[in-house]
């Protein structure tokens, strides 16, 4: 019995090590949520302890045997008991009101990170990947990428969210709370990272077959590194020089790929699927499903349905020479 209980308790502890941890905040927004959570926990523990103590006291005073006749009403005892119950009701109301106000204050603070130098990022949910666009008043300077949000450390980020198909929900637990992405209705949330690192995110609203494989990574880096990254993302795709890569580009542009994807600097400019201009610079493929290397890329292209059943991407039915060239070309898009 003890052994079973011990095993269960240890198993429960296994949940503590998971990476998307809302209780290990890396920015002010998540810290506020974690702080409010701790307050709720502390109040709940205190209330539980008091209630249990009173209950145990009542159990200890119980009268044994069959029910005695009801005692005569003692007016003094009656008054004391009435006072005790009234005090407990008032205390409960005050506690609930206190938690209500604390919750309102937290929600208000979450929506008020606004600062004039905030970075604006538009995130659009698709089945089953994230489109990320860095806003700029000059359209030519906007940057589009997928499944990775790069943010500078210490600068507030306004994430404007919407959905292209069904309802999704953006959740990077170490940075901010959840926000639903709705079709035809814009929403937004603030996030800020206080230390550099890679923070996991996940779609938090069931959105179809591959909801579980709709992950994203928030990459927080020093402001200079972020600017370097942004400047690089603005450049068009590298012009291939080797004949194999040139052939790969031909295959991409002449085949079905170009009907859905964009590669800046070429004639491919469709927006159904993720922007591939700097595909090889990202850490994962297929929204966090595969690591981004040539082997995984080839496996993904040859049969996406075996990796993500139900995905909208069709398989690339190409002769081996064309296929190899296509993989090499996509792998060269740094």
């Amino acid at each position: 019995m003890t052994r079973v209980a011990l095993t269960l308790a240890l198993t429960a502890l296994g949940g503590c090590a998971g990476r998307p941890a809302a209780l290990d905040p890396a920015g002010p927004q998540a810290a506020r949520i974690a702080g409010f959570w701790s307050l709720l926990l502390a109040v709940s523990i205190a209330v539980s302890v008091v209630v249990l103590a009173v209950l145990l006291d009542a159990l200890a005073r119980r009268r044994g045997g069959s029910l005695p006749p009801p005692p005569a009403v003692d007016p003094r005892l009656e008054r004391r008991l009435t006072f005790g119950v009234a005090a407990a009701v008032v205390l409960t109301a005050v506690l609930l009101l206190f938690l209500f106000v604390a919750s309102l204050r937290t929600a208000r603070a979450l929506n008020a990170l606004g600062e004039p130098d905030a970075l604006t990022v538009e995130v659009t949910g698709h089945q089953w990947w994230w489109e990320v666009e860095y806003w700029d008043s000059a359209p030519a300077r906007r940057v589009r990428t997928a499944n990775e949000i790069h943010v500078p450390v210490g600068r507030p980020v306004l994430v404007k969210t919407r959905s292209a198909d069904v309802i999704h929900s953006l959740w990077a637990p170490r940075l901010a709370g959840k926000k639903d992405l709705l079709p035809q209705h814009a929403t937004s949330l603030w996030m800020q990272a206080d230390r550099p690192g890679m923070f996991d995110g996940q779609c938090a609203e069931f959105c179809g077959h591959q909801h579980a494989h709709m992950r994203l990574t928030v990459v927080a880096e020093a402001p200079e590194a972020f600017q370097t990254w942004l400047a690089h993302q603005r450049t068009p795709a590298a012009e291939p020089t080797e004949p194999a890569l040139l052939h790969g580009r031909e295959v991409f542009l002449a085949g079905p790929c170009a009907l859905c994807h964009t590669i800046a600097g070429t004639t491919a400019a469709a927006r159904l699927g993720p922007d591939l201009t700097h595909l090889a610079s990202r850490t994962t493929l297929a929204a966090g499903t595969l690591p981004n290397d040539l082997g995984a890329l080839a496996a993904w292209l040859v049969d996406p349905q075996s990796v993500k059943p139900g995905v909208h991407m069709p398989p690339a039915a190409l002769p081996p020479r064309d296929f190899q060239a296509l993989v090499a070309y996509l792998g060269s898009l740094r």
Binding site: G255, P256, L259, C260, D303, H312
Partner: protein, 156 residues
């Protein structure tokens, strides 16, 4: 005996849901798109995504191109005729998408175009729309008997 027959009937009734809820994602038999609700729904999505509705109208009501929801099928009623129209194009404006869309995508589009006049089985046809329905859902339509109408006369 009666109970056994009842149980058998119930079991048979349960199988009617098979086609509707079947999700075959494999591309090994692209011509079977009509038999999978998922594939027909993909065709519906691609119909918009590849801008077919730009010429043929949302829901196939017609526009710059001929309507796809009526019973007059200019280039023939067989699935192969529709497939050929998509892949090889047709005179007076229909571009050839061969090599641009994959074979499986083309068959998914064929299945959706045919569902506009209720050709695939009811269980496989889409039952809802992301936009305002222009008429009853594909699933609710009665199957039309299409007529091979031949090339339209100039000026029609």
């Amino acid at each position: 005996m009666r109970r056994a027959i009842g149980a058998l009937l119930c079991a048979a009734l349960a199988t009617t849901a098979c086609q509707r809820e079947q999700r075959r994602f494999s591309d090994s038999r692209p011509r079977d798109a009509e038999r999978s609700a998922w594939a027909v729904a993909e065709g519906k999505r691609l119909y918009q995504a590849f801008n077919c509705d730009g010429c043929h109208g949302r829901g196939g009501g017609g526009g710059m191109g001929p309507p796809l929801m009526d019973a007059a099928w200019i280039y023939g009623v067989a699935p192969d005729n529709v497939y050929a129209s998509i892949m090889r194009g047709r005179p007076n404006g229909m571009p050839a998408f061969g090599g641009r869309v994959t074979e499986s995508q083309a068959w998914q589009l064929v299945a959706y175009v045919r569902s506009l006049s209720g050709q695939p089985s009811r269980g496989a046809r889409p039952g809802r729309d992301d936009h305002m329905q222009v008429r009853e859902s594909e699933q609710a339509r009665r199957a039309e008997r299409p007529v091979a109408a031949g090339t339209p006369k100039p000026g029609r």
